[in-house]
């Protein structure tokens, strides 16, 4: 762990300014991506501090934004237009929120199955979607890793890669995205609100994370000193017919081997629309667009669910230890779809 400066921000604009100035003060920004920026926001710190202790992240300045939790950034509001989740709300309070549980069960379930209660009490929503991979080669600086040190190589390809991704990979990186909550947001067509040095902007959740491609070090669309302030989810009748299924090696406190966030719009026994996002199998929260297309207009049966799952993994690339994720991912999705179809949804 290396020394760093620390400051507290009283409001979002001040936080952004402080993070921006960290970049100006220091030398050239080591990497263009958000995660490599010299100024980092400190929320719950459940990923950031962990990676700093491992020397994987070496920010020059931590801008503590926990004070923002008392303001709008910490608020959860639900109304006829939809749901608004302040980025500084904790995972625990979001999971416990009555409207979230009733109208957006996929969010509550994804959060409840993530991490441990202690971590969920600490972690904030904004930081949670930015959680970085658990790839062991990324987390230990003595291995080559294109995500940590671009151009150094990928030790996971050809190494121990049971946890790694089969979708959205490149020859530069196969690290899996470890989170759960982001998959729920993705399936719900959420929007991300961002504040940065250039002001406020918003982008669809589907554009937040970037596949590794040639630049695995650039993980998101966020620019240095940009901060997520909120997530919004549009209201729709189908959000109640939603769930999160997570398959893992043990029953709690484990990352997904495969998970599925499913939002289903059923009318007259047919699928009028759906949102499907997969976790544990991809480099980013993964929208299974092809699976959604397969289901459109068809009754949700074991057969259509299996065809959808087949489509979801058609382009998957297995590695030495993770080939099982194709089969597991398919079975997980089939199970989630059938379960969602059977949900009793009121009004």
């Amino acid at each position: 762990m290396q020394p760093f400066a620390y400051t507290r921000a009283a409001d979002p604009a001040m936080a952004v300014r402080a993070a921006r100035d960290a970049g100006r003060r220091g030398e050239a920004v080591p990497f263009p991506g958000h995660a490599g920026a010299p100024g980092q926001f400190l929320g719950g710190g459940t990923t950031l501090l962990d990676l700093m202790k491992l020397d994987v992240m070496r920010p020059a300045l931590l801008v503590d934004i926990n004070g923002l939790g008392a303001g709008p950034a910490g608020r959860i509001s639900a109304g006829p237009d939809g749901l608004r989740l302040g980025a500084m709300a904790t995972m625990a309070e979001t999971e416990a929120h009555e409207a979230v549980r009733r109208d957006y069960p996929v969010i509550a379930q994804a959060l409840a199955q993530a991490a441990s209660p202690q971590l969920r009490n600490m972690a904030r929503l904004g930081g949670n979607v930015l959680q970085r991979t658990r790839c062991a080669y990324f987390r230990n600086t003595s291995w080559p890793c294109n995500k940590r040190r671009p151009g150094s190589g990928c030790a996971a390809i050809g190494g121990q890669n049971r946890q790694h991704a089969v979708l959205g990979t490149s020859e530069q990186c196969i690290a899996s995205y470890p989170g759960d909550f982001a998959n729920a947001l993705l399936a719900l067509d959420a929007t991300v609100e961002v504040l940065g040095p250039q002001g406020a902007r918003s982008l669809p959740m589907a554009r937040l994370h970037r596949q590794p491609g040639e630049r695995p070090d650039v993980e998101t669309d966020l620019q240095p000193a940009e901060m997520i302030t909120a997530f919004t989810v549009p209201a729709a009748p189908r959000t109640r017919r939603s769930l999160y299924l997570k398959i893992r090696d043990r029953d709690s406190y484990a990352f997904a081997l495969a998970s599925a966030a499913v939002v289903l719009d059923l009318a007259d026994g047919r699928v009028r629309g759906s949102g499907i996002a997969l976790g544990g199998v991809a480099t980013i929260p993964w929208r299974a667009v092809h699976a959604e297309e397969v289901l459109l207009g068809r009754p949700l049966t074991e057969r259509s669910a299996e065809e959808a799952a087949e489509a979801a993994f058609a382009l998957a690339i297995p590695r030495e230890h993770n080939a099982f994720k194709l089969d597991l991912g398919r079975q997980c999705l089939v199970r989630a779809l059938l379960q969602a179809a059977e949900l009793e949804v009121r009004g």
């Binding site: 762990m1 290396q2 020394p3 020397d55 658990r134 062991a136 080669y137 230990n140 003595s142 030790a155 050809g158 190494g159 121990q160 049971r162 946890q163 398959i247 893992r248 090696d249 043990r250 029953d251 709690s252 406190y253 484990a254 990352f255 081997l257 495969a258 099982f324 089969d327 597991l328 079975q331 997980c332 089939v334 199970r335």
Partner: protein
């Protein structure tokens, strides 16, 4: 979760609460790293990122420039550390490589440097700035990698003999029903909750080491030899240990390095090893392979038992478990053939980990027994019954007691085994496939010499002193109970002092010897006091005050030594020199074992194949149970551990680099509360006056034996898929 306090049955003591419970839950129990020492310097290790080769250059300038850094210790400046023999060769060391002896790297994660600074922060920063340049050779990671060398144990250890009897091959060839299968167990790490740590404090030429230890007298003598000191100059202190499981039994390389650093810097040095460095600087259970062949007649009588084992070890030391020494006595096999091999690779030397020989070898045998039962179309309990025995098929030596079938009967009845449909996949609950399986648990009853000093006063207060160890097992409590019972005083009037090498030597907390050995010596010491006060050995004086008046002094103190007859009086004398001797299990004339039977229900999801264990029932017979409450905890912890070793635990190795990859407890999985359903424990009363004066069989390492087999057998019953490689992860059950 509230659990009722277990009711004592026949030959069981009172279920008194653990005497250190309140201290521990209120944070008052002081663990090694908690001792306040004056102005300690803080140390952080730098470990090798290669497994084989040498350090060619150490760039230390940047590290030394960190404000507060006192020194970076390397092989170039640490000073002389003498060789200490590997524990398997009569010494105390975890491996025979001298710490920081030179540039050579023999295994990944070997200590190559240690940064010491005024603050932990500075030491950590400096450690991150040490640049180590290596010349690296391609290492051999394990069994299947080029360069792995296989040798029969008989070639590397003259005293080892593979147990055999009769012509097992011929009996196997002519048997009506046979099983020939291979099983593997993975690399595992202890990961005790309390991290490994060492604090070294010099006062003049006297060294005090605060370190979590299962063997303070071994630590004292081992470090004295490494540093060329008189053992009287060294004291090892370890009153509480936050889990050990064998990982804290031997002298690991860090201790001498920290002690020398403290001497050089003339101030105490404290090192708390990080979780990931604990994977490579301490000890572990190495991977094993087995080929088991069983031959039986149509009635299920075992005609032939053949078992070959392969155990991974380092290039440095021929560590082996040879669990066949015990498994050959489990059943009434007509003929037996065994062979154990070691396979050397570029890895650290493995060591003891909870039930070292039994966990892998009993897993293989009990999984094969289930396969045999299926081949015979026989109930697996009935197969064990038909092969139950009261004597060794090898030597004819008799069991001093063996309650295996009572355990099976009680556990089967409590579990509801009679309702089992034997056909695989026949029992379902919605989308979940249900499987029931069982297996035998056993652990040799072992003893070590022990000494103890006891002081008694007229008001009925007493103090027991012995350098034994409480690893969280309840040793303080049961030793206090033994003294109270033997002296006829209240248990809360007995103070117990453990875990300090200034106390009379006690046994290593290994091999489940502590209760049997220490209660035996405490009993002897108490009996001497009783006699001196006018009672008989077994019976304390009726009126203690009057007895003291006759005695003429206000306090009485006595000291006793006890040694298992097979070791004799030389045992305690050797302990004063840091010696270690454990006997028991299979002896020439008798077999001493504790037994158990375990029944498990598993559920496997039809589609996604995750495996859950909603309930497990174990029945155990372990001689005299001094305290049913702490015994219950040991059994409970053992079963939970067993579930983990079946389904979760495995250290993953990058074969190219011979390095561990999942070296933290987020990725090295052990069960969490959510994984543990109903755990039912039945203590079967058993009396065995022959094993030792206390009548105690060690039980700490009993319940986690066989559990992996019971679960594997249940998974087969649920799915029809026989997984022979642990751990059983869901991918092995996906079509």
């Amino acid at each position: 979760m509230n659990r009722p306090v277990p009711e004592p049955k026949a030959n069981m003591g009172a279920a008194v609460p653990r005497r250190d419970a309140r201290l521990k839950v209120t944070g008052q129990a002081r663990y090694a790293a908690d001792f306040a020492v004056a102005e300690p310097a803080h140390a952080v290790l730098i470990t090798s990122s290669i497994a084989r080769g040498e350090v060619t250059r150490l760039e230390l300038d940047a590290a030394k420039a960190v404000p507060g850094v006192l020194e970076i210790f390397t092989h170039e400046n640490i000073g002389e550390i003498a060789e200490e023999a590997f524990f398997g060769a009569g010494g105390t060391a975890a491996n025979s490589l001298r710490p920081l002896a030179g540039p050579e790297v023999r295994y990944a994660g070997q200590i190559v440097a240690m940064a010491v600074a005024d603050s932990l922060e500075a030491a950590r920063e400096a450690a991150g700035k040490v640049e180590v340049v290596y010349r690296s050779e391609t290492p051999t990671a394990g069994f299947d990698d080029p360069g792995a060398e296989t040798k029969p144990v008989t070639e590397v250890d003259e005293s080892h003999e593979d147990p055999r009897t009769g012509d097992a091959q011929q009996a196997y060839d002519s048997a009506a029903v046979t099983i020939d299968q291979r099983y593997t167990t993975p690399t595992q790490h202890h990961n005790p909750m309390e991290l490994y740590s060492t604090t070294a404090v010099w006062e003049g030429d006297r060294l005090t080491i605060y370190e979590p230890s299962q063997w303070v007298w071994g630590l004292k003598h081992g470090v004295a030899r490494q540093l060329g000191l008189d053992p009287a100059q060294v004291r090892a202190v370890s009153p509480y240990v936050g889990g050990a499981f064998g990982g804290k039994a031997t002298v690991t390389p860090r201790t001498a390095i920290v002690a020398l650093a403290a001497r050089r810097l003339k101030r105490p040095v404290k090192l708390v090893v990080t979780r990931d460095q604990g994977f490579t600087t301490a000890s572990y259970r190495a991977e094993t392979r087995h080929r088991v062949r069983l031959g039986a007649d149509r009635d299920g009588r075992l005609l032939s038992y053949m078992h070959e084992g392969w155990e991974l070890t380092s290039r440095m030391d021929p560590y082996f478990n040879a669990g066949t020494d015990n498994t050959v006595h489990m059943y009434d096999a007509g003929t037996v053939w065994t062979r154990v091999n070691i396979v050397t690779a570029d890895r650290n030397t493995p060591g003891f980990m909870r039930s070292p020989p039994e966990v892998p070898y009993m897993y293989a045998l009990e999984a094969a027994m289930d396969e045999l039962a299926v081949a015979l179309r026989m109930d697996p309990v009935e197969l064990r019954r038909r092969n139950d025995t009261m004597k060794s098929p090898i030597s004819g030596a008799r069991y001093t007691s063996r309650a295996l079938m009572q355990c099976y009967d009680e556990a089967a009845s409590a579990f509801g085994w009679a309702k089992r449909d034997p056909a695989p996949g026949a029992m379902r609950d919605g989308d979940w496939l249900v499987g029931w399986g069982c297996a035998t648990a056993s652990y040799p009853t072992q003893m070590s010499p022990a000494t103890a000093r006891i002081r008694l006063q007229p008001d009925g207060t007493a103090r027991v002193q012995v350098a034994a160890h409480d690893l969280g097992t309840g040793a303080y409590t049961v030793i206090g109970q033994q003294a109270a019972e033997s002296l006829g005083i209240a248990v809360d009037k007995v103070a117990v002092e453990l875990g300090d090498s200034d106390l009379p030597p006690g046994p290593v907390a290994g091999g489940s010897v502590t209760t049997a050995s220490v209660c035996s010596v405490v009993k002897l010491a108490c009996e001497r006091i009783n006699r001196r006060l006018g009672g008989t050995g077994r019976r304390p004086p009726l009126d203690l005050k009057a007895a003291f008046e006759d005695f003429g002094q206000a306090v009485i103190e006595d000291y006793a030594e006890w040694s298992p007859p097979a070791i004799g009086p030389a045992g305690p004398r050797a302990m004063y020199k840091g010696g270690l001797k454990i006997v028991g299990g299979p002896m020439d004339d008798k077999l001493m074992f504790a037994f158990g039977a375990e029944f498990v229900e598993v559920r496997v999801h039809r589609r996604t194949r995750e495996i859950r264990v909603p309930r497990i029932t174990g029945a155990f017979a372990g001689g005299r149970i001094v305290n049913p409450r702490t015994a219950h905890s040991q059994y409970l912890g053992g079963l939970v551990w067993g579930i983990g070793s079946a389904l979760h635990e495995a250290t993953e190795i990058d074969r190219r680099a011979a390095r561990y990859v999942n070296d933290d407890i987020a990725e090295y999985l052990i069960p969490v509360n959510a994984d543990i359903g109903e755990v039912q424990i039945i203590m079967v009363p058993e009396e065995d006056a022959e094993v030792n004066p206390a009548g105690v069989k060690g039980i700490g390492e009993l319940a986690n034996v066989g559990t992996a087999a019971a679960i594997a057998n249940a998974v087969y019953h649920a799915t029809g898929i026989r997984v022979r490689e642990l751990p059983i992860r869901l991918e092995k059950l996906l079509a």
